[in-house]
Amino acid sequence: MDCDVLVVGGGAAGCTMSYRLSKAGMNVALVTSGTPATAMSCGRIKVTEENKELRQFIRQAGEKYGLFTEEREVQAYTNKGTLYSQSFLSDYDDSSQARAAAGIEGNKDFNPDLAARITGRLTPYWIRQADLDETAESLKEIPEEMIIIPPLFDIRHYRSSMKKLEEQSGRKLREAVTPLSLPGKRLHECLIQAAKAAGTRVLEGRKVTDITAQSALIQSGIREQEMTYGALVLAGGNLISGGLVLDGNMVREPLLGINVTEVASTRLRSAELTEALSSGICAHGCRAAAGVYACGSIVAGMSYPLNKGLWDVMLNAWNAAEKVRDAL
């Protein structure tokens, strides 16, 4: 057998599942392709139902990179004007005291004019796109003490670069939360790294294309490889990341086509779309079929439009991992 458990999909759910199973000493392979909803999200985690172990896992995964250093519930805002509260903060998250917003010319992530209009308490500035030293110089010219800037640094350089920029500019900096931007990517990266560190074999850029009893076909570029497993975990996400597909009038799990709630409409108007999103595979107690498990937003009722966000899918995966472990 190539692995004890094969996890399909490396979003928040798949990573959490892989981490926990690897920690339990299992041989886990995680196959993932494309951008997960996790990386597209604003990366705001809000604790909805307490779980101390999961809390600890998230903090540990982010600590190295300066993420989730503090636990406190705050509201952050985006350039789209949405408000979203979160339970974990990095040192650069809480922007409630900021009075200035600096956008960077050519960087479409964050529009300070828009932020100023939404909040009514920020003075907008535009600065030139430049390297770190020059950016610090430009920020120095802004009189306000605390400034919101767009996300600029990737996870590996996040903490150190923000610190450097603060020191050089003499300003306190806060980072704007924008969807389709870095925060979600950072969260995703730190979860992938956590799974890797726990011993999971992460096969990125690869897709599971077919499943037969006890083995899966994995597409890697122009090649296909077979991988045998003891148990399979479906964590492919919802419609947006291809974990579920819509064809004709059905919502279907694309690999096994199992237990998917039917959507009785050929045309997807918004009501139907909501219904489609709220369906998913019905994995009662996380077991979908013999040796097949599911976790995360692929599971019926776990999707975002139903108010189930990152914490919920991770909690779902955390608990499901225990069941998978016990079953093997």
Binding site: S33, G34, T35, A37, M40, G106, D154, R156, L180, S181, L203, E204, G205, R206, Q219, S220, G221, I222, R223, Q225, I240, S241, G242
Partner: protein, 325 residues
Amino acid sequence: MNGCIKCGECLTACHAYRHLRDQFSGPRRLAVEYPRFNDTSEEAFICTTCGYCEEVCPSELAITQAIVQMRGKMFPPQNEGQKKVLELAYRTDHSVEPKEYSAPEKGKTLLFPGCVGKGRLAGRPEEVIKLLTAAGAEPYIHPGLVCCGSPLSKMGAAEEVERLKNINYPLLSEAEKVVTVCPGCTTMINKSYGIAALHILEYLQDAELNFIDGDDVRVYLHHPCHLSRGVGPHVMDIAKEILDSMPGVTVLDCGSEKDCCGGGGGVLAAYPREAYATADLKVKEAQEAGADLIVAPCPFCAVNLRRPKRLKAVEMSEFLCSRLK
């Protein structure tokens, strides 16, 4: 481009958009500007067909294929660099001026040397032959082989590609095994010719190579787009495994390895300045991370990464060859 959910992931991933100018060849261009205004501006040619956009696209759209198709419709290209490459192909059947080399003309495993190799710029035939021999193969190069057509297909030159394919096809199909050095050739021969060809690293996966106790060297392992996303990410696992097994070699983990070198897809020919700028950024990162050497398992990338002259950049089979026992 039906099925695009306008999430913008492709834009975020595109190095051409990020580094060069506010230009993007991807979906928006394909779906809006091109059909509506029949706009034949440069954007379509700044794309290196690196495939990053395709990898991140949650809708799995075949973006690069669409870009190449669009180039076909705009054929012939207007820029001087690509015109020159085309002329060279008409004249010499190669995309790089071929030079003399010595290699056995008969054997069991056909080495498809590729234009960059034959031009002796990187992945030189003699060294690759030596490496394959050390791996237990009986390698040969058929002297009649020409360009596989991959670089020309990226410029939209469909007819010329067909002509070259017809020359290569019989020579490739009679071989017991086909091995290539350039990932562009690997993909082209597998997908377009329908002939099974291995990239040299895939061939070396199970080979027992003996390396010398060479000098300590810190290697930045570049992930060539057409290898790691084209042929498949599994090849990069093999590359890492082989390098890890070599005494004295430490492979760094910098985070920027997967970034495009900026030279592929005809960009090095069409926009040498832009290709240089992208390579320079990458080499700088390697330098800052403390690398002594860049190893690129693609002759084409090796050539482009060498241009900034900041760090030595070698093609991977040449590097392996230099440390054979």
